[in-house]
Symmetry: C2
Subunit: 250 residues, 2 copies
DNA sequence: ACAAAAGTGTTAAGACTACACCCATGA
DNA sequence: TCATGGGTGTAGTCTTAACACTTTTGT
């Protein structure tokens, strides 16, 4: 069987790109950075930012470069990880393109900078971007869906949620991230206990932040731990908040 | 911005390959399928099986084809998932090669069939293959290490361990998989309870299997569920059995 | 004083650990 | 009958869900 089958063509015209799914939490929704395409194909359509991998750079390196180009990121805390690769023939009308998708999580970032291929970069609510009629270019709808799923499950057993918070942050800031990404309300008391008792998740700064209303909240920094065990479960939501405390008393 | 910056070279000579990390549990160790390389570079060295992606096939498709070529796999239950991509310049002396690594899990497979590029395919204990002096070719040591980590953590929250068991199997067969891959002993009673009570993990066949010694064990099929929640924790090992505290009643 | 958010306390339900102990089979 | 692994029962501990309640601020 080593010589009879038609031998694979060892090299054919193929391009390698990296595409970035950059998430941030703005207001009360998860947002993804998109670019309006400045050239064909899909001219005028929306797509994930990305670009060609250069001959002399690694994949992570290319992703980091693109991230910098798109967001103007400076040294801020920011999570970047490889998501997976997509390479169906026909996913790009120009030819065979393999893309390595990366997932980036960051605090509400400054107004995005238009990248090389982009006429315009903008934040879109993920809920809208995923709708079929939004019409993301290429197979970017699938990539985005995979990224959302990855982000959701990573919140359960890791501490990456802190990547969405600019330091220092409060426990409520962090809870807000979970609530927005999971789309459920969490019990503030139990959430606090869980995250403050997970060693290395939060490091108190000793400072407090006073907001318009309510008691000032303690401020924290990320504590350096990567994982949470046991995980924080998504199932434990609290459906009807607003009923508030004091429904019955002794 | 579309014409001033030094434009990335949109296409340069790149090859795209898929590499497979095929795991099975044999005897009391996790094994990986390796091939002895039949040509340069690394002629005579050991490497993960893999091959070039063809112009007209998708990545998953290529992985499945390679898997079939290497193992002679027929319809058996078998898990295949993309692991991640590796593309550092210089990872292959022949030029720029991006490889998409896949993780495959299967029951103790038949004697492997030599693939196209392989002089010989063989099962190697993962513990040995990971040692630096084993000298896996290319960056296959890193890929293998990543695969082991992925497999270990997937056992925690999914039911993929069943992919290692030929059906029908016993609870002990399944526990053996966990013990070998995690490298710890698990309490048989508690393990049984956990897996039998996780809905959809195991489906009783009604049959039993009698072995040389001991009570016959009930036989099960995989039940179709993908995940386990809450997860089965690795921490819960049983280091020194027989220490005996006698707290339980008599 | 009141509203609102931060933060603490408490209880009951559920899951897990560490075992003791019983069951079914071959030798 | 004994050895061996299969399988059940259970007490104590740990974790969580639910929610009452106290604290601290701005208005």
């Amino acid at each position: 069987m080593t010589h009879s089958a038609p031998p694979a063509v060892p090299r054919f015209p193929v391009s390698v790109t990296v595409d970035l799914v950059i998430f941030t939490v703005r207001d009360d929704a998860l947002h993804v950075l998109l670019v309006e395409r400045g050239k064909e194909p899909f001219l005028g359509g929306s797509a994930l930012p990305g670009g060609y991998v250069r001959p002399d750079e690694g994949l992570d390196e290319a992703a980091l470069r693109e991230l910098r180009e798109e967001t103007g990121l400076d040294g801020g805390r920011l999570h970047l990880e490889q998501l997976r690769s997509y390479g169906d023939p026909g996913r790009d009308p120009r030819g065979r393109v393999i893309t390595v998708a990366y997932l980036a999580l960051g605090p509400d970032l400054p107004a995005p900078v238009a990248g090389t291929d982009a006429a315009r970069a903008f934040w879109a609510p993920v809920g809208e971007a995923l709708r079929a009629d939004f019409g993301l270019s290429f197979d970017h709808g699938s990539i985005l869906a995979d990224a959302v799923e990855r982000a959701r499950s990573k919140l359960e057993y890791t501490t990456v949620a802190t990547s969405f918070c600019r330091e220092p942050f409060t426990v409520s800031d962090l809870r807000h991230v979970y609530e927005v990404i999971w789309g459920i309300a969490l019990d503030p008391s139990n959430f606090r206990r869980k995250v403050t008792r997970t060693a290395g998740f939060l490091e108190p700064t000793g400072e407090r932040r006073t907001s318009e209303t309510g008691r000032p909240a303690a401020l924290y920094r990320f504590g350096g731990a990567a994982v949470m065990s046991p995980p924080l479960l998504r199932s434990g939501d609290i459906a009807g908040r607003g009923a508030g405390g004091g429904s019955g008393r002794g």
